[in-house]
């Protein structure tokens, strides 16, 4: 941990704000706006904790570069067939782990993702943890890496939108 405590606290607040905006975009179903939270060379992955712990590289969603994030957003919005639903994220327990000499910020946060299908009760689609690396571009934080690592190893039918 290189930065003073006060700096880390303000970074944590900044990441909490970032995550609140990130969740707001996804919860509103604005999937086309989701790639803007990432840097050009970003890696985005959703994977089970069994894979993360065993260092297995697979992702339910595995994107290298912002082009692949945009392609996923396009496919979900324009080509994919699925029943309509609402999603709601709750993100908490944000921790700043380190800031490296190149100002890359490593951080974690827990998430819970609730899903509500028309005609059905709300379910807990998954709980997990974001393992993040942020960089700063034009004064704003952007995700260079986000690994969404879920504890809920058995997915109920399908996980459609990004986490």
């Amino acid at each position: 941990m290189s930065a003073p405590a006060a700096d880390l606290r303000s970074l944590r607040l900044e990441i909490e704000e970032f995550n609140a905006e990130y969740a707001a975009v996804l919860d509103a179903g604005r999937v086309a706006d989701w790639p803007a939270f990432f840097s050009e060379d970003a890696v985005y992955r959703i994977t089970g904790r069994e894979n993360w712990d065993a260092k297995l590289p697979v992702g339910l969603v595995y994107c290298e570069g912002i082009g692949m994030l945009r392609d996923r957003a396009l496919a979900i919005a324009k080509t994919t067939m699925f029943a309509p639903r609402y999603l709601l994220h709750q993100i908490s327990n944000t921790r700043v782990l380190s800031v490296d000499p190149a100002s890359v910020v490593s951080a974690e946060a827990n998430y819970a993702l609730f899903e509500t299908l028309v005609d059905e009760r709300t379910t807990l689609q998954q709980v997990g943890r974001y393992h993040d690396r942020f960089i700063r571009e034009d004064g704003r934080l952007r995700l260079k890496e986000r690994h969404c690592v879920y504890d809920s190893l058995i997915i109920d039918t399908a996980l459609i939108y990004p986490v």
């Binding site: 697979v58 992702g59 339910l60 692949m68 392609d71 080509t79």
Partner: protein, 421 residues
């Protein structure tokens, strides 16, 4: 076929009588009846079938074990200290506890946590605590023999690193079981090259387990449900394709070939498929690349190995899927994604990138799972009964047409004999 010999069937209860339309109509109760499900467990999963349980690459060393399933029955797949692979029930001989809990592990013996009955990696009982009691009071009777109380052992076979198990003692070889036409494409994915495990997905679907087989014996749905394939030219109705069916009707390979010049959509296909739009383009074209690494005329083969295995070769993304039924109305799907030992880092990442097509968040996988959920809901809640399986007329067996349901009819010809329907 050996299954055909099973004719000791009691008459089906009146509600379970197959309709007179033969194979052109499948009654809903095949997918929803608890009585049918029980008969499937007895005659299919616990009957004369080879069930996928593991890849050898998951248990590479002596002492490695994996928790798996045959039908819904929990089993342990273990490699003993000499290297031989065994499969036995995950049920302590003493009180029935499911003794092995981790998905994968390594040990020199297996110990039930309840009373510490101890088994070797072949499922033999090796120790019972306080067998002679305390100070010769209590304990097991003198005639109790450890060798009479091992775990129930299954018949095991392997083919090029893929492990299968059967409750039947006198199974034919795996090669005879799946037949040469389906074995050919199985061996393309599993030529004996060591596999490199890339990871796991798991999901449930609230639908009958057979629906998953039928979906992959149904080339008709591919370009209609999966707009992604059409929009981005991965597969179109005009591509050369085949639905290969083995002689028994139960196994199959849904295959298609990408034209040498790469993906493209002709005007005729565009007109037929509502999904097609010239305006949609992928930004990252790496996703569509096909590295021609296989000795095969097909760029995609999806194999249904009855009763519980799917072998996926979709361009360069490879995986197996194990179907675990959970009653008539739900199944669990365990996916193992893999490449080959010796793949370059870039090849591994190519497989992972292309993996976005499949799985419970895959561009195709989402749609298959949603469609099957819709079908089960429709069947459970409606007054109408029966599916219409008439595409391609009465044709059965291997077909080179896209618009046919011959593979589904072939499966049900076999199924009706096994279940006595």
């Amino acid at each position: 076929m050996p299954d055909s010999a099973r004719t000791e069937t009691p008459a089906a209860s009146p509600a379970l009588r197959w309709p007179s339309d033969g194979l052109s109509k499948i009654p809903d109760w095949v997918y929803t009846s608890p009585e049918i499900y029980e008969r499937e467990v007895e005659r299919i999963f616990h009957g004369r079938t080879w069930n996928f349980v593991a890849l050898e690459a998951e248990i590479p060393e002596p002492g490695c074990f994996k928790r798996s399933f045959v039908g819904a029955t929990p089993v342990i797949v273990a490699r003993d200290l000499k290297g031989a692979v065994h499969v036995f029930e995950n049920r302590c001989a003493h009180r029935g506890a499911e003794l092995c809990r981790p998905a994968l592990g390594k040990a020199t013996e297996l110990v039930c946590p309840y009373h510490q009955w101890t088994y070797d990696l072949a499922g033999n009982l090796t120790a019972v605590p306080f067998r002679r009691g305390i100070k010769n009071e209590g304990g097991m009777p003198k005639e109790f023999r450890l060798e009479d109380h091992g775990l129930l052992k299954l018949n095991v076979t392997t083919r090029h690193g893929v492990v299968f198990a059967s409750f039947a003692r006198d199974m034919e070889s795996f090669e005879d079981y799946i037949g040469p036409d389906v074995l050919k494409d199985f061996d393309v994915v599993f030529p004996g090259r060591p596999l490199k495990i890339l990871g796991y997905y798991r999901n449930t679907v609230p639908a009958n387990w057979k629906m998953y087989h039928e979906n992959l014996k149904d080339p008709y749905h591919a370009t209609l449900l999966h707009a992604f394939l059409v929009c981005f030219g991965l597969m179109v109705a005009g591509n050369r394709s085949a639905m290969i069916v083995d002689a028994s009707g139960r196994h199959g390979t849904l295959a298609s070939a990408r034209p040498k010049e790469g993906p493209k959509v002709d005007a005729d296909s565009k007109a037929q498929m509502r999904a097609f739009s010239d305006a949609l383009k992928l930004e990252d074209r790496r996703f569509l690349e096909f590295v021609r690494e296989f000795d095969s005329e097909w760029s995609v083969t999806m194999q249904t190995i009855w009763p519980n295995l799917i072998v996926q070769r979709e361009l360069n993304t490879l995986g197996v899927r194990q179907i675990v039924p959970r009653g008539p109305n739900e199944y669990l799907m365990n996916w193992i994604m893999f490449g080959y030992e010796g793949d370059s880092d870039e090849m591994t990442r190519h497989r992972l990138r292309q993996g976005n097509l499949m799985g419970p968040s895959g561009f195709l996988g989402i749609e298959d799972n949603e469609a099957m959920r819709f079908v089960q809901q429709g069947m459970l809640k409606s007054e109408s009964d029966g599916s219409v399986i008439m595409l391609g007329g009465a044709e059965e067996g291997t077909s080179y047409k896209m618009i046919t349901e011959a593979g589904i009819r072939s499966l049900y010809r076999h199924y009706r004999v096994v279940l006595g329907l």
